[in-house]
Symmetry: C2
Subunit: 151 residues, 2 copies
């Protein structure tokens, strides 16, 4: 069965993303993760650290940004030739990623599932539940980093 | 009256974003624009160039990502000290931006308005209307670039 990343590899030879160079795929996926990190940080500051007063609208907007990025089809930015073996220090993606696409797909689904949960909890306005959901998102980030990102 | 960017300057001394260094603000805002550009490109390929077959779900996801990023509170990434006069070639933001916050706010509102329209047109599935809406978004991008971005 072809899942998200398997489909992405196929798509990379067929679709819009076919025209993206490896450098561009890396740039765009890093941009997505960077922007998600900013929004994770805003939620953390408000519902975990308490260093910023809780503002429901801001947390909802941040969660929505994370979710929309996560669900935008980033798998197509993981085309062949975009790991460290060919791109050096331009990326931290281990070549192992391409040998374990089933596992990568599973981790990606866990991530988007946790992000969607964060979005619904953000809308509820329950800070304790948002905090829990944010922690779960963090775990799914780390799971992929541990397996497929260089130290 | 304090609008989005005026509020951002105020917030920059009060909120989470106070802890972001100018370099970080620049990195995050550039990430947001980069990721939006990728999604604009996907929509363009499908409804303008026709180089990729139209896929409603992909276009909706792309429009949602653009909208969620645009509405995530990026104004707070435009704090003092983040223009070329202090950050050199790390940014393309002209110092004039900070002397024309009313104009910047107006352009930002035009942008988010056009993006929201793109999202609703994407949901309609009408390719001609999506094409028009994408063009309108592009105009609001250009309006700000022309005034506040270095060549």
């Amino acid at each position: 069965m072809i899942g998200g990343f398997g489909a992405a590899l196929l798509l990379a030879t067929l679709s819009a993303e076919a025209q993206l160079k490896p450098e561009e795929q890396i740039e765009y996926r890093q941009a997505g993760y960077s922007f998600m990190a900013w929004n994770m940080g805003k939620i953390k500051a408000q519902v975990v650290d308490g260093s910023v007063p809780y503002n429901k609208a801001q947390v909802v907007a941040a969660a929505n940004a994370i979710a929309a990025i996560a669900n935008s089809g980033m798998g197509s930015l993981y085309g062949p030739g975009t790991a460290t073996d060919q791109m050096g220090d331009k990326t931290r993606l281990k070549p192992e990623f391409f040998k374990n696409l089933d596992e990568a797909n599973k981790l990606a689904r866990n991530f988007t599932g946790a992000v969607d949960k964060l979005t619904s909890e953000a809308a509820s306005g329950d800070q304790a539940r948002i905090k829990t959901a944010l922690g779960e998102v963090g775990k799914t980030c780390k799971a992929c980093h541990d397996q497929f990102r260089t130290k």
